[in-house]
């Protein structure tokens, strides 16, 4: 048996060997077929389809290089350049081509001046920018530094000297909130550009308008990026340009801003916080838009220095905040002329109607006090505006009622956005029972109490408006009922074709007001300046102007509490307001000034308005200002650069 089994096994192994040899043959044939299949595929690709793929490979050798457009200039209404470009050298590092960034920067600092802030900014850029080709370590090199680097270029692999255009604001911080600034395109901007389908036009562009007109008119200013088809060599370096589609520079934007007026206004503020908006009533042109404190937009141009940025953000005065459009303030007594007009227009009062002011107004068991101890005596409407009598308006608002007040003030733009072409405009609050219902959740908070109407009469309570809204209302009153959209840009010029596009004033609404009522209110406002609360600030003014002072409480004071300025901390002091227009007969300017914690309106805000009107109407330069015309100083700055 064992031998039988043995032979069977041997026979089995022989069969297995034969089977194996057969399968090796099968495998060999399969391998040959498979390899022939590959050969056929190669023949198809490399012989039959060769032309197709050669063409595709050729396309791959051509690289599209963007040609950057020059950004459009910003000019003021008189043609003064307020934002321009200049060419400067930057030293840029290609992070991917450099072994050690720190060492490279250390080595570079032997040649050019590299401050710790330059390093900090570089690190910030490196962290923020995605897939950056190159990043600047130093910008605005002096000619000497550029030459020194150029001579030593060979020592620095992955570092290049580049000529780039930079944005420059010749007047520094003047008008910074209106002009805005440029900043590096960050991932958020990139996403937005991609969504809007603009990313192709921004290839190669590093900067984009971040605030102000630079941001709102980005589409006009940027221009069209051109393209160069460049043949590249094995290392990806350009060998020669095959074709070139030139870039088209951005359009020049002429603002309605009067830069000289802006400078005078900012100088008048000095170190004080606040805002000023000056508007041409007949057009809505924004002549000046001040928000103090401000910032230097030049600091943003090549990636903001982190320290300066931190300072701006940490500052409790919030210099980046544009108070003119996003600061909300109670109007104080500057609301009185409008309420007086409301009473005249609705027939609730005639201008000759009088009240007796004992110095207070009792309502619902509460005593509302007048500023003047002992009261103003017998007061008619003219006197109520000139002397700013509170009691008169306690009566008046009570008689008008909150609904009529809200209905009348609404068309003047109180509590609604003006539509100015600047990002971040606030709505403010025009108080009304409807507003309360919308504003508050709990039913007991939603109810409007008649007592609340009383303080509305003197511009306190829930009122809160932007300085722009106050100026717009003033302009509307000055023009007799016409409201224009605030116009920032007068004209857009295409420098290539010479085509000029004017942006026409846009009337938002016209309110039918009785001429004699408007004239009466204006006359009363002239009285404020001639014989009333604004008298001292406007002593000896050689033009006709109307105005109204205002004082807005910062912290709520009970009406029977005595306000003692000296005891109140500086930041809890009242805001000082002033609204004005001039000349009276055909107003060319309407403005609103607010000085934060400036105390009484007549003291801080009115003198600023005086200075601005003196300059605008008479060309009178304030005593403290050394250089009357900005151009002179600009020329000097350029030389000292």
């Amino acid at each position: 048996m064992p031998s039988l089994l043995g032979t069977a096994e041997i026979r089995n192994s022989e069969r297995e060997l034969q089977q194996f040899q057969l399968r090796v043959g099968v495998a060999g044939v399969a391998v040959m077929i498979a390899l022939c299949l590959l050969a056929a595929r190669f023949f198809y690709l490399q012989v039959l389809q060769h032309d197709v793929y050669r063409a595709k490979a050729e396309d791959n050798r051509i690289s599209i290089v963007p040609v950057l457009p020059n950004r459009g200039l910003l000019l003021d209404r008189n043609g003064v350049i307020v934002a321009r470009n200049y060419q400067g050298y930057t030293l840029e590092i290609f992070p991917r081509k450099v072994a050690s960034l720190e060492r490279t920067i250390d080595e570079l600092s032997e040649l050019v001046d590299i401050q710790p802030r330059d390093r900090a900014r570089f690190r910030k850029l490196l962290a923020e920018t995605r897939n950056a080709e190159s990043l600047p370590i130093r910008s605005r090199l002096s000619d000497e530094e550029a030459a020194r680097f150029a001579a030593n270029r060979f020592r620095y692999e992955g570092v290049e000297l580049k000529a780039r255009l930079f944005r420059q604001y010749p007047y520094g911080e003047v008008g910074s909130h209106l002009l805005g600034y440029l900043g590096r395109i960050n991932t958020q901007d990139q996403t937005r550009l991609e969504e809007e389908g603009l990313d192709a036009n921004y290839r190669g562009t590093d900067f984009i308008g971040k605030a102000g007109v630079e941001a709102s008119y980005e589409a006009e200013l940027h221009g069209t990026t051109g393209f160069e088809q460049v043949e590249i060599d094995a290392a990806g370096r350009g060998i020669r340009t095959l074709s070139r589609t030139p870039s088209q520079p951005g359009n020049n934007v002429t603002l309605t801003l009067d830069m000289r007026l802006q400078r005078v206004a900012e100088a008048a503020f000095g170190e004080r916080r606040g805002a000023l908006v000056a508007i041409e009533p007949a057009t809505g042109d924004v002549l000046a838009l001040v928000s103090k404190p401000d910032f230097d937009p030049n600091q943003f141009v090549d990636g903001i220095d982190p320290q300066y940025w931190a300072e701006l953000n940490a500052n409790i005065d919030k210099p980046l905040n544009n108070r003119a459009i996003s600061g909300l303030y109670p109007p104080g007594s500057t609301i009185k002329p409008y309420l007086a007009l409301a009473a005249l227009e609705t027939g609730k009062r005639r201008s000759s109607n009088t009240i007796f002011d004992p110095g207070y107004f009792d309502f619902g068991g509460r005593r509302f006090r007048d500023d003047k101890k002992g009261g103003h005596g017998t007061v008619d409407m003219y006197k109520s505006i000139v002397e700013s009598c509170d009691t008169y308006y306690y009566h008046l608002s009570n008689d008008l009622g909150i609904d009529a007040i809200a209905r009348f003030l609404g068309p003047f733009g109180f509590g609604s956005r003006s539509g100015i072409d600047l990002a971040g405009e606030f709505t403010g609050v025009l108080p009304s029972p409807e507003w309360k219902v919308k504003r508050f959740k709990r039913p007991q908070d939603q109810k409007w109490y008649p007592g609340e109407t009383i303080s509305i009469g003197i511009g306190q309570g829930y009122h809160s408006y932007t300085p722009l809204q106050l100026a717009q209302a003033m302009a509307m009153l000055a023009s007799g009922g016409q409201m224009y959209k605030p116009r920032l840009v007068a004209r857009i010029d295409n420098t290539r074709t010479g085509e000029q596009r004017s942006i026409d004033p846009e009337m938002i609404r016209r309110v039918a007001l009785h001429r004699e009522n408007v004239d009466f209110i204006k006359r009363a406002m002239v009285g404020v300046i001639k014989e009333g609360t604004g008298q001292r600030a406007f002593a000896g003014a050689q033009y006709s102007a109307g105005g109204k002072t205002g004082t807005a409480q910062v912290i709520a004071m009970k009406q029977n509490e005595k306000y003692e300025e000296a005891k109140v901390a500086e930041r809890h002091r009242d805001h000082s307001l002033f609204i004005a227009f001039a000349p009276v007969d055909s107003p060319r300017i309407a403005l609103a000034v607010i000085v934060e914690n400036g105390g009484f309106g007549a003291r801080a805000a009115a003198p600023i308005a005086r200075t601005v009107l003196d300059y605008f109407l008479l060309g009178k330069v304030p005593a403290g200002m050394q250089n009357p015309t900005p151009e002179d100083e600009a020329a000097e700055e350029e030389e000292s650069d």
Binding site: V24, V31, R41, F42, Q46, A57
Partner: protein, 372 residues
């Protein structure tokens, strides 16, 4: 006289060195490796040190091949079971403690270095299966094939889970080749194939949309030209633009302008093909044909079942590497991470391949001397 005396020991040492080395196989292997170094030189214009590194890898691999070639197949048999068990244990360890690189858990830390146990399985599995079938020589039943299939599926499953489809496919294929050469009946193979195809349909229905899309992209890269398809589109352009005679060594634009990703490793064939054209490709195919043919001949002459099965599987492993890689680069097979044998940059793959060649040489040295 003295000179002759002096030369003699060298001659003896030389004779010892070349002992067991199959000159035909070695010439083919060296030709392929030198072509690889030349192509790598072109692909590595930016990192020239790679060529030196690969030359060192080549020397190490040649030494390993020589050492293996000195062993008899019977000695190797003794390593089969331990190698398989250790390999399996390491795969389990990877699943538990492995490093995650690019979303896949493939690497295991061993002291200062780390390595991929799945690479080891490429040889350990055929070794194990060949040894198993060798023990069951002439008493083979269907259930032995079932056990062999189980021995294959366990490491295969572990590698799929990593996930590393390329290596899993290679390991699975090599294991299957052993089973195929061992004589699995055609009827079973056809039956399994048909069952598999039938099962694909309900499986497809159970997949999520994104999983289906991923598989479809794998099969047709042009549906995803910016993602996975980019590799294939660019490598196909490289191959096609090479034309009949190629753009010349160092002149491939696709490679040098960095349009070809992974141009040192999995896509080195695109560089080769662009610069040497159809002529180069045919030369490469001829070299691989010679390599595989020689390996199959060695398998055919193997003295034992173990030697025959192992050599046959290694022969087809070379083929699978080459075919899948070239098929992928030229756009007829899906993209899986398989290097081009003897040409792609990378020490581990080269070591595996040369150890395989060493096994072939050992089998050849201990071949059946008498034809029955």
């Amino acid at each position: 006289m003295e000179a002759l005396e002096a030369r003699l020991p060298f001659r003896r040492i030389g004779a010892r060195i070349v002992e067991g080395i199959d000159p035909g196989l070695l010439i083919v292997l060296l030709s392929l490796s030198l072509l690889g170094l030349a192509t790598l030189f072109s692909a590595s214009y930016d990192v020239p040190s790679r060529v030196v590194g690969q030359a060192v890898n080549l020397c190490v691999a040649l030494v390993a091949m020589w050492l293996i070639a000195q062993l008899a197949p019977q000695t190797m048999m003794r390593f089969a079971l331990p190698a398989y068990v250790i390999g399996l244990a390491l795969l389990v360890a990877v699943a538990l403690f492995g490093d995650v690189v690019n979303g896949a858990r493939r690497w295991l830390h061993v002291g200062v270095t780390r390595f991929q146990p799945s690479e080891m399985m490429k040889l350990a599995l055929p070794l194990m299966l060949a040894w198993y079938f060798h023990r069951k020589e002439s008493t083979l039943k269907l259930r032995h094939f079932a056990i062999a299939a189980l021995l294959l599926l366990v490491p295969f499953g572990l590698i799929v889970r990593q996930p590393d489809l390329g290596t899993a496919m290679l390991v699975g294929a090599v294991g299957f080749y052993v089973i195929f050469f061992a004589g699995l009946s055609w009827r079973v193979m056809v039956g399994l194939g048909v069952t598999g195809l039938v099962l694909l349909f309900p499986a497809w229905g159970m997949l999520h949309d994104y999983q289906r899309r991923r598989i479809l992209t794998l099969l047709d890269p042009s549906t995803d030209p910016l993602g996975a398809g980019y590799h294939i589109i660019q490598s196909t352009i490289a191959v096609g633009s090479g034309g009949f005679s190629g753009k010349g060594w160092l002149n491939g634009t696709q490679a040098h302008l960095e349009f070809i990703p992974e141009r040192h490793t999995d896509f080195i064939f695109a560089v080769f093909s662009e610069e040497f054209g159809l002529i180069g490709n045919i030369l490469l195919l001829v070299l691989y044909s010679l390599l595989i043919a020689r390996a199959l001949m060695i398998a055919n002459s193997g003295a034992t079942v173990f030697a025959r099965l192992l050599a046959g599987a290694i022969a087809l492993m070379f083929f699978t590497y080459a075919f899948v890689n070239m098929g992928m680069v030229s756009g007829i097979l899906p993209v899986v991470g398989v290097p081009l044998p003897f040409l792609s940059y990378g020490g581990t793959a080269l070591l595996t391949l040369f150890i395989g060649a060493g096994i072939l040489m050992s089998v050849h040295r201990h071949r059946r001397l008498v034809q029955t």
